[in-house]
Structure formats: structure tokens, C-alpha cells
């Protein structure tokens, strides 16, 4: 349709650890504003794949391009500067700082103020930090020490931090792991809303199929390091290969029951 490169283009991504082929020739792409779920059973290579997208891990071969620009081989911090935000499966935040300060650090980095020795950090981008916190529903927690937040709130804080550099692409590794069911729905609804409003592409891995089928525009399925299916939630749900991989996890049963409920 258009000649403009996709937001994210992954081509033939491959990674082995010794004799184990963790990821074998994975290719896919992602458009701006699209929410793409990467699913697969344990050990399918999701995390390895994910880590190669933002430079946490280096692929043996293959390419990752962001708006046509190569990110392979770059460090995570450089990939971030290209406009890729990320949240972690186990939240990583600055535990001794307040919620607002956590966001401010990201804004300081985004504004290239890291080596400013003389400014007053509490006043740096205070308003912008507040707006980001409001956006994820954490406005009332701004002055709380981050170390005492509940897990679900930490996930929302991570989202605010990841949004601080106005990313084009958001990578979320199991964003709802360890959360209560209602929190999961809330967080993903929030993410989807932000992504659509700001036209951010979102790639997330997830084990909870309710979350996946409800929020993903498109799903790619990984098994034993290889891409075995790709398509809309309905297509993937009906794919016999995917069903075979997931059989025994109750997906078929789930799917049948839900068809009637959500239609």
C-alpha cells in the first residue's frame, strides 16, 4: 500500500545458546498504533526474541529495524533514544525514589540533562511528570516512595516511565504477570487506549489468553523458536497448529465458550 517502512520490521532473527536454537529465523512487522501479542508456550523463545528487539541481547543473525533504521547490535540505551520504551516482566524501578522522581529521571535522560550538575532536579519537568502519572492513573501517588507501591501500581509506574521519551514503540514483557485479574484488564485497557491515542506500536508477550484475545489486534505464535502462526485473534484461535501446541491448556474449551459470550 505504501512505500514507507513499517514501524518495526524483524527479519530472520536467530539466536542459539550452544546447541539450543532458542530463536530460529523469526520475521514479523508492526505498524504504528497496532497492538501485537507475541505468544507461545514456556521455552518457545519469547523472552530471547524480546530481548533482541531492544538490544538487551544480541542476535546471531537477522535484523531489527525501526522505521527502516537498523537497531541490531545497538545498546539498550541507544535503542531507547531511537524511541523504544520497555517494561520488564519483573518490574525494574528506582526503589529509593518517589514515584514522581522515577518519571523525572526518565525525563531528565530524555532531555539530555544527565550531566547537569547544577540544576534543581525536583523542578525538572515536574509538570510533565505529573501529566504522565495522571495518564496512567497514578497522579495521587506522586510523592509516595516507590519502594512501598503495590505490584500493580509498580507496573503502571513502569508504563509511565516507558512513555517518558514519547516512544514510537512500546515493548512490554508479560505486562500483567503477577497481577490480580481486574488489574490486568485495567492495565491493558489503559495501554491500548494510550497506544491508539498517541499512535504508539505495542508489542507484548503474555501468558494470559484472556488478555491476549481481548486486546491484541494481531497475534504471532512462537513454538520452539519458530514462528508457527500469525493473524487476527480469530484466525490464530482457529489455527490447528496453535491448538496442537496449546492443547491441554484449556484453550479450546475457553475459545468455544467465549465465542458465544463476546459475540
Amino acid at each position: 500500500m505504501s512505500v514507507a517502512p513499517p514501524l518495526l520490521a524483524v527479519e530472520g532473527l536467530t539466536k542459539s545458546y550452544g546447541g539450543i536454537h532458542a530463536v530460529r529465523g523469526v520475521s514479523f512487522s508492526l505498524r504504528a498504533g497496532e497492538i501485537l501479542a507475541l505468544i507461545g508456550p514456556n521455552g518457545a523463545g519469547k523472552s530471547t526474541c524480546f530481548d533482541m528487539l531492544n538490544g538487551q541481547n544480541r542476535p546471531d543473525s537477522g535484523h531489527v529495524r525501526l522505521l527502516g533504521e537498523e537497531t541490531t547490535g545497538k545498546k539498550p540505551r541507544d535503542v531507547w533514544r531511537m524511541g523504544v520504551g520497555r517494561t520488564f516482566q519483573i518490574t525494574a524501578t528506582f526503589a529509593t525514589m518517589t514515584v514522581r522522581e522515577n518519571v523525572q529521571v526518565a525525563l531528565i535522560s530524555h532531555g539530555k540533562q544527565l550531566f547537569n550538575l547544577w540544576g534543581s532536579a525536583p523542578n525538572v519537568d515536574r509538570g510533565e511528570a505529573g501529566r504522565l502519572l495522571e495518564l496512567v492513573g497514578m497522579g495521587g501517588y506522586a510523592d509516595r516512595p516507590c519502594g512501598e507501591l503495590a505490584y500493580g501500581d509498580l507496573k503502571r509506574l513502569e508504563l509511565a516511565v516507558a512513555l517518558a521519551n514519547q516512544p514510537k514503540l512500546l515493548l512490554m514483557d508479560e505486562p500483567t504477570a503477577g497481577m490480580a485479574p481486574r488489574e490486568r484488564v485495567e492495565l491493558m485497557r489503559l495501554t491500548a487506549q494510550i497506544a491508539r491515542e498517541k499512535s504508539i506500536g505495542v508489542l507484548f508477550t503474555e501468558h494470559d489468553m484472556d488478555v491476549v484475545f481481548e486486546h491484541a489486534d494481531r497475534i504471532i505464535v512462537l513454538n520452539r523458536g519458530m514462528l508457527i502462526a500469525e493473524g487476527s485473534p480469530a484466525e490464530v484461535r482457529g489455527n490447528p497448529q496453535v491448538q496442537a501446541v496449546y492443547l491441554g491448556e484449556g484453550l479450546l474449551y475457553d475459545a468455544e465458550h467465549r465465542e458465544g459470550a463476546s459475540a
Binding site: 540505551r77 531507547w80 526503589a95 529521571v105 550538575l117 525536583p122 521519551n165
Partner: protein, 629 residues
């Protein structure tokens, strides 16, 4: 040729004691994760007790029996120390453990002098190994040959112990995952105690076996512990084979270094260590370190800048301090100047430790470099005082830039050990390069110019600089740089994921801290009128650490308070008692066990408790405080 062979064999013989002590340290670290600074002290006690016993007991059986009994006796002391002290601090941060065991070392140094006297003691020759063997015209003491055979034998016994016994299996399992072993129903307490006993036994044996070769004296603990740190860092903490290989390597480097580079023989070893750490940060045979654990009890309250009332209070305190010359005598003013200088020194390390999370064990290097910088400029270039004061600290800055670059590649215990090693390099340069530094005699008569010569003028100068430095560093804590630096301390993963180059931030912090320490050193040179290698020695580095911990690492103003209290106490103690090390060591141990948050941390906690009980506190504010405790 024969000469070189003999030199090689001498090196191998020296490796024996080093290996024994290092393997003990390694075993203890592997299981308990404690870097036992007191290991040198146990080595020394082993030598002293063995000396006494060999003097009392006669005959070959008496001698060898005495050696073994001495090692067992010290192991028993070790068990006592483990049960009374270490069990309380296993969950404290690594830094606290290093410091507590250092306090123990200080106490032992005084106790040993108290019991055995300050003089060197020359022990008996070993029965059966009194002579020397002729090797193509060169003499090799037969005791050396005994030691050469001994270390592989000990290595073999340790290997059997770890591979073939149930205890050994548990120790190896605990080295990999302590919590898992505990979950499997193993009594961890006794496992730790037994491991500590074995480690101490090895150290004491190493000390006892030294008596036929070397005189026993009360400074042998520090000498060996630095070498042992180097050995375990090169070999890899937790690896016994690594300790063996590295002990041989270090001893041979020493043996041949003296022949090839007589001037810089000490440096050679440290250079090798630096190279190993950069190529393989976890040592030749070690495994990468697990990320440092956070201590649950030490929750941190977010920092905030001073309120305007607090600023007024600080200003008032400064005014009071500045009025000291109105009513105090010259001696008090000199003490005051010294305290002000140590405030500079302490806040510089405090900045690095509390904001950057980097515990330097060799911070005195940059303090001393600043002092030497002034000495060179004043004595050789004959520059005026003000120029010297401005340019002298640059030597500290350059030292910090070079060493800091390598040091920030590592973290945790390894960072501490590497900074310690770098400080030792600088110290040995100052000590050995006599033609430039004057060696042990130092550089004398560096006196301030007339405008700063009187005690009151110099006091005002020191106080003014200390105030400026403290304010500047405080501003930096709350600057964007300070925020980002704290971020790298809290989570490397997250800070990297938001575009922060952590190593560059840490390097910058290291250079800032080093330069600031250099400013303190520059003033110190003028205060004392002289510069000595001691100005960059280990004990000064440890003084800085104690000041920071005493004030409280996790507070913003801990450095200032810690320096004032510690230095005043120190000066007073030295004037009051001959056993200042004993008191000081006991004091350090006490801080670590009883007040891990330091003085300022304690005060903050008390203030919060009061605020909490007062009814009109807003619920939004009161809640975080509750959970922060």
C-alpha cells in the same frame, strides 16, 4: 641459571602461606558471602600462639604439635567470633560485613601488642628442616622445600574434603544457592559456623607455618590481607584452585619482580590484578557475581532538599563554628581545622557511596594525591599557596580519572577490592619512588603563607572550603546528575533502559569524589606542613569509610556529622589511651551491629516516630513513613 631456579623455588615456598590464607578466605566467602577482613588477624594470632607454644614445648613432636594446636585454638576463636558477631550481620550489606571484620582487625592489633608486646619475635627453626640444600652453589633452605610440597598436599586434602564428604557436598551446594540448601532442611547456622572454622583454621595454619621463616610482629595482618585480597581477586572469590594458581602467580611475580624492576616490584602484582579484573572481572577461576542483595531492614526514605528552616539552622551552625577563634585556643583551632578537612574528605566519599552506591576502600589515594600535588607544586615549582591549593587537587582528579575508569567496570565487593588495590599502588609509588616523593621520609616544610599562617586564619580557610564543598556536593545530590546517578544505583537494568550510560555516570561521580578528596588533602598538607605515604594509606581510607557509616550512608548529611563525631572522638581517644585501636575497633563493630543506619539515620528515625505519634499528621504523609520503618 641456578640462581633463577632458586628464586623460583623461593617464590613457590612463599606461595604456601598465601595459599592457605587465601583458600580460607575463599571458602568462607563462597558459603557466607562475607569478605572476611579479619582473616589477616587470624593469621597473625595463629603465628603468635604458635610462637608461644613452640617456645614452651620441646622436641620435634612439640614443635609440630604446637603448630597444629595453635591452628585449632584460633579456629575455636573463629567459631566464637562467628557465633557472637557474624551471625548478627549475615543479612547486612557487604560493606557492613567488611567494616565489622575490619573493626575486629583493629581490636586484634592492640590486643596482640598487649599480650605479646610490641617487639618482633623470632621463632624456632623447624626440627628436621634446619639446614639448607646445595643447588649448584646456591642454598635452598630445606624448610622451603617442605612448604613447596605442603601446598599441593593441602590443595589435595581440600579437594577430597569437598568432593568426597557429605559436609563438602553441602558446602558446594551452599556456595551455589544458600537459600535452596536451607530449604532442603540443612541446619544453615552450623554449616556456616563450620565453614568459618575451617577457613580460620587454614589462615592460622598459614600464620603458624611462617614462624621458622619470618619474625612474628603486630603488623603482619595488614601486610598479608592485601596480598590475599589480590590473590582471591585474581583467582576468583570462592575458588580454591583459583586461590592456589593465583598464590603461585603472585609469589612468583614478587620473587622475580624484585630482580627485574626493583623500584616497582609491588606495583607489578597490582598491575596484573587490574588486567585480570578488566579481562575477567570475576577472576581466573571464579564465577560472575550474583547481583548484590538489598537489605530489607534498611528501607530508604526518599531524599529531599533542606527546608528553609533547616537551611537557617545549618547557617547558624556554621556561624557558631566560625566564631570558634573568639574563645578557643590554638590547639583547639588546629583540631578544628583538621576536623573541617576531614569533613571534606568524608563528604567526598559519602557522595560516591550514598548517591553512587560505590563503596571505595581506597579513597585515601585521592586525598593523598591532592596532598602530594600541593607538595610538588610548593617545593619543586615554588608556586604561591593559593595556586597550589587550586592546582594540587588536580593530581587527585587525574588519579581518580585513571583508576576510576577501571574501577567502575566492576561493582560490589570487587569494586571495593579494586579501589583498595589501586590505593596500594599509589601508596607503594609514594613509598618506593624515593627520589621524587622522599619515600618514608616524606616531603617536609610545606607551610602556609602569612595570610593563612595563624591558627585562626587557617581554621577559617579550612572551614570556608569545607562549607563550600559540602554545599556544592549537596547541590549535586539534587541536580539532574545526582538523580540519574541514584537511578543507576537503584536499578542498572531500568536506568540502561531509559538511556542512561551508567558507567559514565559512575565514572564522573568517581572523578568528582576524587577531586573533592584531593581538595581536602591539599589543605591537609598545609595544616601538617608535610606529606607522608601514610596520607594515602589503607587506615586513612578506612577512617573515611567509618566516618560515612557512622553518619549514615543512606542519608544526605551523614558525611558531615560522621566526620565531626568520629574525628573529634579519634583525636580525643588518641590523647587519652594507648589502646585507641582497641576502642575504635570495638566502636566500629558496635556501629555495624547496633546502629546500621548511622547517627543521622537514627535521628531521622526518631523524628519520624515522634511525628507519627503526633495526632494532626495528614494521613497521606503518615502512611509512607509507617512502612518505611
Amino acid at each position: 641459571m641456578a640462581f633463577y631456579v632458586v628464586q623460583f623455588l623461593t617464590g613457590l615456598a612463599s606461595a604456601a602461606s598465601l595459599f592457605l590464607v587465601a583458600s580460607g578466605l575463599s571458602i568462607i566467602f563462597g558459603v557466607t558471602r562475607i569478605v572476611n577482613f579479619a582473616h589477616g588477624a587470624f593469621y597473625m594470632i595463629g603465628a603468635y600462639i604458635a610462637f608461644t607454644l613452640t617456645e614452651r614445648l620441646s622436641g620435634a613432636f612439640g614443635f609440630w604439635g604446637a603448630i597444629v594446636v595453635a591452628a585449632f585454638a584460633v579456629a575455636l576463636i573463629g567459631v566464637l567470633v562467628e557465633m557472637v558477631l557474624l551471625r548478627r550481620i549475615y543479612h547486612a550489606p557487604e560493606l557492613f560485613q567488611l567494616l565489622a571484620t575490619f573493626g575486629l582487625t583493629l581490636m586484634v592489633e592492640d590486643l596482640v601488642v598487649l599480650i605479646w608486646g610490641p617487639d618482633d619475635l623470632v621463632g624456632r627453626r623447624a626440627p628436621g628442616f634446619k639446614g639448607a640444600i646445595d643447588f649448584f652453589g646456591q642454598n635452598i633452605p630445606s624448610y622451603d622445600l617442605f612448604l613447596i610440597v605442603l601446598s599441593p598436599v593441602v590443595l589435595g586434602i581440600l579437594w577430597l574434603l569437598f568432593q568426597r564428604t557429605r559436609w563438602g557436598v553441602l558446602v558446594r551446594a551452599a556456595t551455589q544457592d544458600r537459600d535452596m540448601v536451607a530449604a532442603l532442611g540443612v541446619n544453615q547456622k552450623w554449616l556456616f559456623t563450620s565453614v568459618f572454622a575451617v577457613g580460620v583454621f587454614l589462615a592460622a595454619l598459614g600464620g603458624a607455618l611462617q614462624i621458622p621463616r619470618d619474625a612474628v610482629h603486630h603488623a603482619m595482618d595488614l601486610r598479608i590481607i592485601v596480598d590475599v585480597f589480590v590473590v582471591v581477586v585474581i583467582g576468583g572469590l570462592g575458588s580454591i584452585v583459583g586461590a592456589f594458581v593465583a598464590a603461585v602467580l603472585v609469589s612468583e611475580l614478587n620473587a622475580f619482580g624484585i630482580l627485574i624492576f626493583p623500584k616497582i616490584s609491588i606495583i607489578l602484582v597490582f598491575l596484573v590484578m587490574a588486567v585480570v579484573l578488566i579481562v575477567r572481572p570475576w577472576g581466573l577461576f571464579g564465577r560472575p557475581e550474583a547481583p548484590a542483595r538489598r537489605t530489607p531492614g534498611l528501607t530508604v526514605n526518599p531524599w529531599r532538599p533542606l527546608t528553609s528552616n533547616e537551611r537557617l539552622a545549618a547557617l547558624a551552625a556554621l556561624v557558631v563554628a566560625a566564631s570558634l577563634p573568639l574563645f578557643a585556643g590554638n590547639y583547639a583551632l588546629t583540631v578544628g581545622s583538621e576536623i573541617a578537612i576531614f569533613v571534606i574528605f568524608a563528604v567526598s566519599l559519602h557522595f560516591l557511596m550514598s548517591v553512587g552506591g560505590l563503596a571505595s576502600f581506597g579513597h585515601a589515594a585521592y586525598f593523598g594525591l591532592g596532598a602530594y600535588g600541593v607538595a610538588f607544586l610548593a617545593k619543586m615549582a615554588g608556586l604561591p599557596m593559593i595556586v597550589c591549593l587550586l592546582l594540587g587537587p588536580l593530581l587527585g582528579c587525574m588519579g581518580a580519572a585513571v583508576f576510576g575508569f577501571f574501577a567502575v567496570q566492576l561493582s560490589g565487593v570487587y569494586f571495593a577490592m579494586l579501589t583498595l588495590a589501586f590505593a596500594q599502588i599509589v601508596w607503594s609509588i609514594a613509598f618506593q619512588w624515593v627520589s621524587v616523593t622522599g619515600g618514608d621520609n616524606g616531603i617536609l616544610s610545606i607551610w602556609p603563607e602569612k595570610w593563612a599562617a595563624s591558627p585562626s586564619h587557617f581554621y577559617w580557610l579550612a572551614l570556608g572550603v569545607a562549607a563550600l564543598v559540602t554545599i556544592a556536593l549537596r547541590v549535586m545530590v539534587f541536580s539532574p546528575f545526582g538523580y540519574a546517578l541514584r537511578a543507576t544505583r537503584d536499578s542498572l537494568l531500568r536506568s540502561e533502559a531509559i538511556g542512561i550510560n551508567a558507567k559514565r555516570m559512575q565514572w564522573t561521580a568517581f572523578v568528582i569524589a576524587g577531586t573533592t578528596a584531593g581538595i581536602g588533602g591539599a589543605l591537609f598538607a598545609y595544616l601538617k606542613g608535610s606529606v607522608f605515604p601514610d596520607n594515602l594509606g589503607i587506615s586513612l581510607s578506612v577512617d573515611a569509610l567509618v566516618m560515612v557509616l557512622l553518619g549514615g550512608v543512606e542519608t544526605v548529611s551523614g558525611g558531615v556529622i560522621g566526620a565531626i563525631v568520629y574525628k573529634a572522638l579519634n583525636i580525643w581517644l588518641v590523647s587519652q589511651t594507648d589502646l585507641s585501636k582497641l576502642v575504635l575497633g570495638g566502636f566500629i563493630v558496635l556501629i555495624v551491629v547496633v546502629f546500621p543506619k548511622g547517627i543521622v539515620g537514627m535521628l531521622e528515625m526518631l523524628a519520624q516516630r515522634r511525628r507519627k505519634t503526633s495526632p494532626p499528621g495528614s494521613p497521606l504523609l503518615a502512611k509512607p513513613i509507617e512502612s518505611a520503618e
